[in-house]
Structure formats: C-alpha cells, structure tokens
Assembly symmetry: C2
Homo-oligomer: 305 residues x 2
Amino acid sequence: MEAFSKIVIIGLGLIGSSIAHAARRGKLAKEIAGFDISADVRARAAKIGFCDTVPDDIAAAVKGARLVILCTPVGAYKSVATAIAPHLAKGAILSDVGSVKGAVVRDVGPLVPPGVHFIPAHPIAGTEFSGPEAGFASLFDGRWTILTPLPGADAGAVARLRGFWECLGSQVDEMESGHHDLVLAITSHLPHLIAYNIVGTAHDLEAVTQGEVIKYSASGFRDFTRIAASDPTMWRDVFLNNRDAVLEVLGRFNEDLARLQQAVRDGDGDVLFDTFSRTRAIRKAIIEIGQESPAPNFGRDQKKP
Amino acid sequence: MEAFSKIVIIGLGLIGSSIAHAARRGKLAKEIAGFDISADVRARAAKIGFCDTVPDDIAAAVKGARLVILCTPVGAYKSVATAIAPHLAKGAILSDVGSVKGAVVRDVGPLVPPGVHFIPAHPIAGTEFSGPEAGFASLFDGRWTILTPLPGADAGAVARLRGFWECLGSQVDEMESGHHDLVLAITSHLPHLIAYNIVGTAHDLEAVTQGEVIKYSASGFRDFTRIAASDPTMWRDVFLNNRDAVLEVLGRFNEDLARLQQAVRDGDGDVLFDTFSRTRAIRKAIIEIGQESPAPNFGRDQKKP
C-alpha cells in the first residue's frame, strides 16, 4: 500500500491510539496527526508520542489530511463532523471506528462536503482498557474490520481504505450498515448490556455481600466483569444509537430466558440439558477460526501439568 | 498434614481427576482409588494413571477409605450414596465437590451411616473442559473451597478436611449451606444460565447467520461462550437442585434488565451511563485479590508493544 501523506486521528483513546501505533508500525503514513477534545488526553498522547503532531486546534489537525478517522464516542460525531467539514481536502477519505453504523450514516453523511469520500468502518477489536495509554500496535492483528460504504461509494477510495486496514493487521469485510448494526447487536451490544446488568444485580443484592461476589467470582461471574469494565461513554452512545436492533435481539433474549426460567421452576431437566448441549459447537468454531484461545480459562493463569 | 491411608474419588471428570493429580503432587494419600460409573471413563483414567487403582466395583473402591469424595454430577449423589453407605468405614470422612449444597445435605445426609463424618464441600474452580483428560494438579491453586459442615459436625474431621483442601492448593472458607447456595446463585449459576441463554439466542436468530456470529465474536460474544461450553449434565443438575436461589437472583436480574431496556427505549443516556460506570470497581477488586489476570483480554493472545 502506498503511504498516505497525512492521516488524522480524532479521539485518542484505545482505538485511536492503537491505529496510530499500527500505522507507524506499517509505515502507512508520512505524517500522523492526532486530536482529542481533552487537553489532558492531548498532553498524554503527545508524551507517549504515537502521533507526529497533536495540535490544539482541530482545524489545524485535519488540514491537508488524505485520511481522517473519527475515533471519538459516536455521540460526538455530529459536532466533530461539523467542526472539520470546512477543512477537509477534496479527495480525502473520511472514516470512523464506531460500533454502530446506521446512526453514523444518518448523522455524519449530510455534513460531508462534495468530493470527500465518506466510508464508515468498524474494527471488531478492543480490550477492557481505555485512554491513550491503552493502545498498542497489534490490537487489530487477525481481527475483522467491517466497512459499510454507502451505495455509489467511490470504488477506488473503498479499496484504499480496505488496504489501509489490511496493513493495520486486520481482515476486512463489507456489508450494509443496517445489517452491520443487527450483527453487532447480537455479537457485541447485547452481551455488553447483559454483562453490565448482571454485575449491577450482584452489586445490589443485600443477602450476598460485594466481598463475597468478588471472592468467589472465578466461578463464572468474573467472565462478565471484563466487558462490564469497558468505557461507559462509548457504550452509552452505542445504545442510544442502535436502539431498534438492540431492542429486537433483547426481545428474543428475554423470550428465551423466560423459557429457561420456566424450565428451572418446573424442574424440567430435558429442556435444560438440551439448551446446555447445543452451545458447545459455537465455541469450538470460534476457536477453530482463530478468534479465541483454546487454553483453559483463556490461558488466564493455570497451567497443564 | 498427615497423609490419608486411602482416599477414594467417585466420578473421574475434570474435578475428580484434578483432585487426584493435586493429592499426588502433595503426597496427601498413601493410596488413591478412583471409580466412575462409565467403563470407558474408568479405562481412560486408568491409562492416564492419576489413581493408584480404578476398580470396576464401587464397593471395592471405597473399602477401607478414610476420605471419600463424590465428584459426580449432583443428580447422581443419592444413588451413589446408597451404593457406598454399607461399605463406609467408621470414622471416615464423606465429602463432595458439588456446586449446590442444600440439596446435597437433603439427599445424602439421611443416608450417611453413624460414625461417618459427612462434610459437604465445594471448590470454586474449573475450566470449560470435561472428562478425565481435563484434570491437572494446579486447578485449585489460589482458588477458594467452601466447606458447609452441618451443625454439630466433628471439629476434628472438619479441620482434617480443611487441611486436605489447603494442601491441594486452595484457600478454605466455611459457611452455612443455604447461604452458599445463594452466593453461588449470583456468582456462578445465574452467569451460566445467562451465558447459555445468549448463546442460544444467537444460535436461533434468522437475520444473522451463525457464521457471522462466530466470525465477529471477539466483540463480546466469545466471553459468554466459554462458560456456555461447560458440562451440560452437571449444569442441568445444578439448576434442578438450586431452584429457589436461582429463581430469586434471576428475578432481580430481570427487574434490572427491564429498567435498562426501558432506558434504551427512551434514549435515557443518564441511566445507561450510571449503570455502566459503577461496574468497573468490582472488576478492579477481583484483579486485586488475585482471582483474575489484569492483562487485556485476560492475556488471551494480544501483546503490549
């Protein structure tokens, strides 16, 4: 891939800083500029040094950029797009990393100046940590990035963005934004909502102390606490911006859970056994395609003899 | 700890085989006998060799044992206890590893002959793998084991069982069986029910293919698939035998989820943000007490630069 003369990352958290690290690793840009609305985050990012420049002014940051990537929470996109639109160069690519795509098309699309290629994207990668210190170059290695180009998008620009993500280490898919939002509602948004909810329920029980929950968490609960430790602002914005798809899969989840609840109440061992049996194949497939470690407990801390 | 002259493990799956490995590592028994109702499992266990003997007859297995540990699914306890009761030596300790304790006291308690010390136990440890090949000596290292001795239990026998578990590598707590069942309902049983349920929901969606769920699972879903890959028979028996506590915490979970669902529907960002903010502290505490790895993604497969 030919390097971009300048790329700009707006929002210097886990994903933004990881893009900068990985772009530098791959020599994908002659210049990497970074911007964050927080002066504190800008100062920390400048100190770490994953960007060549971290201007205080968003207009200065995007000036002359050939690729601009929005890495803020989705709720900030409209104001960011409004601020940068007058300064985007003709032929530049404007992209993002948001976990929802329909709302991004709706909010940002109308603000994109003619001649700028707007191509929404979503790297399916992350950790439970946030902030500029959390980023690292290998975050996207072997993960998937989904591009959701609009109908009529410039094929050359889409290919260029695809090549960029491939050089960041990712595999790349393309799909329609609405379908993306439904796929992510079940694979990501619902799991996060459920995890946040169960950690909250445990937090509020009177009969079991928080100390007991923490002490005995290795029995299952701790697996939920990782994703329930993710950035609250980002996740608030996900749920505000993918309402319909989330409510749809949540409705299915509730119906299924009501059936399991009934089986527990009735002591119906066959329903329980059948439900618990058919889920192993999915995990096996996830391990087989390399999206999970087969080590017990994810290889957390235990060793085979 | 003075070694037992003979211990017997009944049920040679993940936990039973791990106890044998760890007991041998710690030289905690002069003889370790193992029994499993499955001839195939007995043959595999004998081949691996973590027991000194694997008799075909359960009465022969328990003969002369000073410590007998039930490691079968909880639903099999009553028939196992009936089979071994006439062969238990006076002064022997009868214990178990079941994830529920009230039902064990109810089912096994009346079958224990006078002079045998019945002390239920539950090691909070496991992996998503099952069978005699899954066991390893360090499974209990640093984990918690809960003893639920009945009122009036022999203090010397309880101390001896506590010492055994400590020598297996575990930390040991004691609590009343009913409280144990409530603590585990929230820390273990509800998380497993929820995980099984969400994997099932994803499995059944028509609009999203199973291939897509698997491919994009790193976005949260895969964290649920590990515990939803646990042994179905064991988990069926857990839910059949801890109904009241599970239904109680599930009721709380449903109430909390209904509130979050309403917040998503209403676009109430404050409720979402507040819920998502207060869960991080619990994870931090779990890491601090050594029950979890602080590495991103549990140190699954990604490295810091």
